[in-house]
Symmetry: C2
Subunit: 249 residues, 2 copies
């Protein structure tokens, strides 16, 4: 059987998230339906991980097994022709039988966009979080650095995950940059706990607002207490940017 | 009476355009309704010019006369509170009684965005025109230069306008730039004929596609024949960026 790896962009606005949910059309079920229409096969699409309702992806990765003989470079066009324009397959690659989009994932990069203009943007209202109040940008950058490295991120995890599993993760990057009126928070890591990016972004924002001191971040991480971290920012400012498998193709 | 100048951003996607139309909720009627709810007065909102269905604005300008005593810096918040998030008043300024957003307009800047990536963007599907085919970027830049200056733009005007009025306009800028996968066409001028930006952008794109020679542009302008110019690009890639009144405040 062939094993096909897809790279997918989607607008999370009108979906209940990646994963199939009873009675709701999820991103996963939409793409599985499109693949079935194209190949005639019912497939299971394995993503690098779920994204929540409203969260966007520039480069989600997923794989499926198939007996179709459609040429690899024609697969994106074939699947896209059966999808609404809010989901776009941007790449298809032939991968080894044993490749698994979730298990083999080495690094993921997420982006959170904060619009710091006095008024929200009409055009980007579903694409960023608006924060008009004064922010200490340097303090936000300083706070971000403390998240890099291997830490127990228990304080930055929403309830609802599996409490027995380890909450230790390694972030290779946690940066805060300006792009005009926008503040872009970017995180790269080997794994992310439930709502971890939105809670870390909310904590960095709370540092900018002066609610949390930048140099208290190590103490908050150490505490493992969710209440000491900042608020969970809303999903519509969050993007899964890319998923890296290194030499695992 | 006070005369208030507003600067407005809007997402054109769900509107039939700026202007009031029977049975349809236009951008103008939406803002006039919001102003009425805020001031208790029926006002006429005078824009720098109309925008068509689907066209976006980053900085449309409009003015209205009012007896309200709401502080000028509170006016955007008051109006925005009565509007859907697809229209945002970003600035309000007190201007002279005689200021008229259409008659006093000196320069307007429009932007047309072409996505030149192999696949369309799911997130920007209502914000740009997708063109995956090979383009001669330098030829597009060369073509653009010919549009600058004072010309009779009759060949770049859709039918439907007033045929008796002059079709001579001056473009102070017509540029083609790259921004990653995007090609950005920007025009600044003292006035624009009906669909002029979309036809000039379509002509520049046809030069990129090799359908029209860059150095034939002066001849096409000279001819005044619409059929010699390129196609009209769709509205969803077009943005009214700004309107300039110089010292006319």
């Amino acid at each position: 059987m062939r094993n096909i790896k897809l790279t997918i962009e989607y607008d999370g606005k009108n979906f209940p998230g990646w994963q199939s949910q009873p009675g709701k059309v999820s991103i996963q079920t939409e793409i599985e339906r499109a693949i079935e229409e194209v190949t005639g096969e019912k497939v299971e699409l394995i993503a690098s991980g779920r994204t929540d309702a409203g969260v966007h992806a520039l480069g989600q990765v997923a794989n499926f097994h198939t007996n179709t003989n459609i040429e690899i470079n024609k697969i994106p066009y074939a699947i896209n022709s059966k999808l609404s324009k809010s989901i776009v397959v941007k790449k298809a690659e032939e991968v080894e039988e044993r490749f698994h989009a979730r298990y083999n994932c080495k690094l993921k990069t997420y982006r959170y966009i904060i619009n710091h203009a006095p008024f929200p943007s009409a055009l980007n209202r579903y694409r960023e979080y608006h924060m008009p109040y004064e922010l200490d940008f340097e303090a936000m950058q300083r706070a971000a650095q403390y998240f890099e490295g291997e830490h127990d991120f228990k304080a930055f995890k929403a309830s609802g995950g599996n409490a027995k599993k380890t909450t230790v993760r390694t972030l290779t990057k946690c940066s805060v940059e300006k792009d005009g009126d926008r503040i872009i928070i970017e995180l790269t890591g080997n794994g992310f706990l439930y709502n971890m990016v939105r809670i870390i972004s909310g904590t960095i924002l709370d540092v900018g607002l002066g609610k949390i001191e930048a140099d208290k971040i190590p103490e908050i991480i150490e505490s493992g207490v969710r209440e000491k971290a900042g608020k969970t920012l809303p999903p519509h400012g969050l993007y899964l940017v890319s998923v890296d498998y290194q030499n695992e193709k």
